[in-house]
């Protein structure tokens, strides 16, 4: 075979800044310390909740930060719009994007995805006899998978918030939601009846970016790993 690939036939790499996607809200505050330990200094406006900016430079010209909704972090990284992200394990479970690698457990944002039901039905209604159940949740896939594994078809009522109201107002028997302390559940007459999975925030990376820019991506993963140690 002829040697087609003379080295000079290869074009030079075009280097563009990597994009790190961070979730708005509660986790962003916890991310601050981690970013500092990883030596990432984003523009101050990142932590200003009133800032209308969505994309922020950092002290490293090869890294920009975007601030999006927690569920959207996974979507941005899956589609390669951001190469790196910080995202809850609940979001990864829900979308199960094959394009996302989750190489590091950051150990922040600890909580759990759980089933909760009204205090009145606990221990009375036996789920093993159910054929179907009506579930209010913002995690339709997690809820369906959880019940399908038990032989129960889940009819999902997809809500984006205030899940705790659903059983009391009669639109669902149970809810599947993120539980941190359980105080919201208790205040609404609900009991956490089953933990589906514990949740922490993960460092996630885009699969193709890791494959095609292994040096740069590997260096960032290593920096976050060191920041955890």
């Amino acid at each position: 075979m002829t040697a087609f690939f003379a080295t000079e036939a290869l074009e030079a790499e075009v280097l563009q800044p990597l994009v790190l996607a961070l979730p708005k809200g509660r986790i962003l505050k916890e991310c601050g310390k981690l970013l500092a330990r990883a030596g990432i200094v984003p523009a101050a406006a990142l932590h200003d909740e009133d800032s209308r900016l969505l994309r922020f430079p950092t002290d490293d010209p090869m890294l920009d930060v975007v601030r999006v909704r927690p569920f959207d972090v996974a979507t941005f990284v899956a589609f390669g719009a951001a190469q790196i992200g910080i995202c809850g394990g609940d979001v990864l479970m829900e979308f199960d994007y094959p394009e996302i690698y989750a190489p590091l457990d950051l150990g922040i944002g600890g909580c759990r995805v759980s089933v909760a039901e009204p205090r009145g039905t606990v221990g009375i209604d036996d789920p093993s006899r159910w054929s179907r159940v009506r579930v209010a949740t913002k995690y339709p896939n997690i809820a369906r998978r959880h019940y399908a594994a038990r032989g129960i078809h889940a009819d999902v009522v997809h809500l984006n918030g205030a899940m705790e109201l659903a059983p009391g107002l009669g639109i669902a028997q149970v809810i599947v939601d993120l539980v941190a302390t359980g105080s919201t559940l208790a205040a609404n007459g609900l009991v956490e009846s089953e933990v589906i999975a514990p949740v922490t925030s993960r460092l996630i990376v885009n699969r193709t970016a890791l494959k095609t820019q292994p040096e740069a991506m590997g260096a960032w993963i290593a920096r976050f790993r060191k920041a955890l140690a």
């Binding site: 075979m1 087609f4 989750a102 193709t208 890791l210 095609t212």
Partner: protein, 400 residues
């Protein structure tokens, strides 16, 4: 009573599309450019049918796409038929049956359209083109390397010179798990964790293998580093032999194409459950989709084989734009020059009648004086989206 409005006649089912001029032509010419390189390396073209009995499509590596096959019943035999979702099983069938007596190694190439029940998250297409090669009847590092080298040369022929080949050993992890006697239940969780490179979960489910698997997980990257990590890892004999084979393949590729970017991911096995040796995925840096994939499998009962399938749709999206053939408007009086122009590579657009010079087709008010003959030919050439016009024995390019 409420009736839904009639569907728009342009609407196609999800994941399907019409390819228009000039894209349909550039696609065809790009596929031919790929196929020319395959042919130049001795790969002879075969053309299997779009539809065949489903058992044929499900053998060997075809089992990996079993849930992606559109099925319909053959009214003749009452057997189930499938529309191909991948051409490799078809070529393997040809190699073991009709071409079973041909000398080995057998080199075959193919190009065609495949259909799948649903698109992926990144690429929603349900009709996917394939152009590929299969090298059947030889089990050697040279054969594995040939897939990468011929693939790189074919992609270079359509202008893609920045490539990255990710080399994989999909049977390495199963060999490690077998050796450690990992229970089936834990295996599934571990496989998912490895697939998502979820180091925390690999440590949690890995048991005695956690250390080795985590090291290999972290080793994914440039070929040299990953091979060093494989050398350093504590591997059972079967896995050690796979790592040695991979190293030989990398050396064989480097000997011919030292500048080609190679990465190695020792624990990746996605979509490669039925592959048995060194596999590869082709990427173009900066692009978010795979341009092709391939690797070693067993053809028929026991014949060693390897192959590479390129995805022309993805290849075209990554490659520099290909210019379509220039189009020359040829007025009636110049018809005699057509053959010479076509021989020079132009497409001639023949006038079927003299353009209505005094009565332009646009809504503009007619000019006071009738335009000179050359001008109206030029206007007609522009209207028909030609790039050139041929008048008075001269070829003129139309400028903006």
């Amino acid at each position: 009573m409420t009736d839904d409005p009639p569907p728009n006649p342009a609407l196609l089912p999800a994941g399907l599309r019409d390819l228009l001029p000039p894209d349909a032509e550039t696609e065809a010419s790009a596929v031919e450019a790929l196929m020319d390189v395959f042919a130049a390396h001795g790969y002879q073209r075969v053309k299997p049918p779009l539809l065949e009995f489903e058992d044929g499509l499900l053998t060997g590596s075809g089992a990996a796409v079993a849930d992606q096959i559109f099925r319909l019943m053959d009214p003749d035999t009452r057997r189930m038929m499938g529309l191909r979702a991948d051409m490799t099983p078809q070529v393997a069938r040809i190699a073991t049956t009709r071409l079973g007596g041909d000398p080995r190694p057998l080199r075959l190439s193919y190009a065609g359209q495949c259909l799948r029940v649903s698109g992926g998250q990144l690429a929603p297409d349900r009709q996917v083109a394939q152009a590929g090669i299969e090298l059947i009847g030889h089990d050697s590092p040279a054969a594995d390397a040939e897939m990468v080298l011929v693939g790189a040369e074919a992609l270079a022929a359509v202008g893609l010179r920045r490539l990255s080949f990710d080399l994989l050993l999909p049977s390495l992890v199963p060999a490690l798990l077998d050796d450690a006697g990992v229970a089936p239940g834990r295996r599934r969780e571990l496989a998912h964790a490895l697939d998502r490179k979820d180091a925390a979960s690999v440590s949690a489910h890995g048991g005695t293998l956690a250390g080795t698997l985590t090291d290999l997980l972290m080793a994914a990257g440039p070929a040299d580093g990953a091979l060093a990590a494989l050398r350093a890892a504590k591997l059972p004999e079967a896995a050690r032999a796979m790592a040695a084979r991979l190293e030989a393949v990398v050396a064989a590729i480097r000997a011919v194409a030292p500048g080609l970017k190679l990465t190695v991911d020792p624990v990746e096995f996605r979509g490669l459950r039925y592959h048995t040796g060194v596999c590869m995925t082709v990427y173009a840096p900066g692009r978010h989709e795979e341009l092709g994939r391939g690797g070693r499998y067993v053809c028929g009962e026991s014949e060693p084989a390897t192959g590479l399938t390129l995805y022309p749709d993805a290849v075209l999206r990554a490659a520099p734009a290909r210019s379509a053939r220039p189009r020359v408007y040829l007025p009636l009086a110049e018809a005699g020059h057509g053959a010479a122009l076509r021989a020079r590579g132009f497409a001639t657009v023949a006038a079927l009648a003299d353009p209505p010079s005094a009565d332009p087709p646009s809504a503009d008010p007619p000019p006071a004086d009738p335009p000179p003959a050359g001008h109206s030919h030029e206007a007609e050439a522009r209207r028909l989206r030609c790039t050139h016009v041929f008048t008075g024995g001269l070829l003129a390019e139309l400028t903006e």
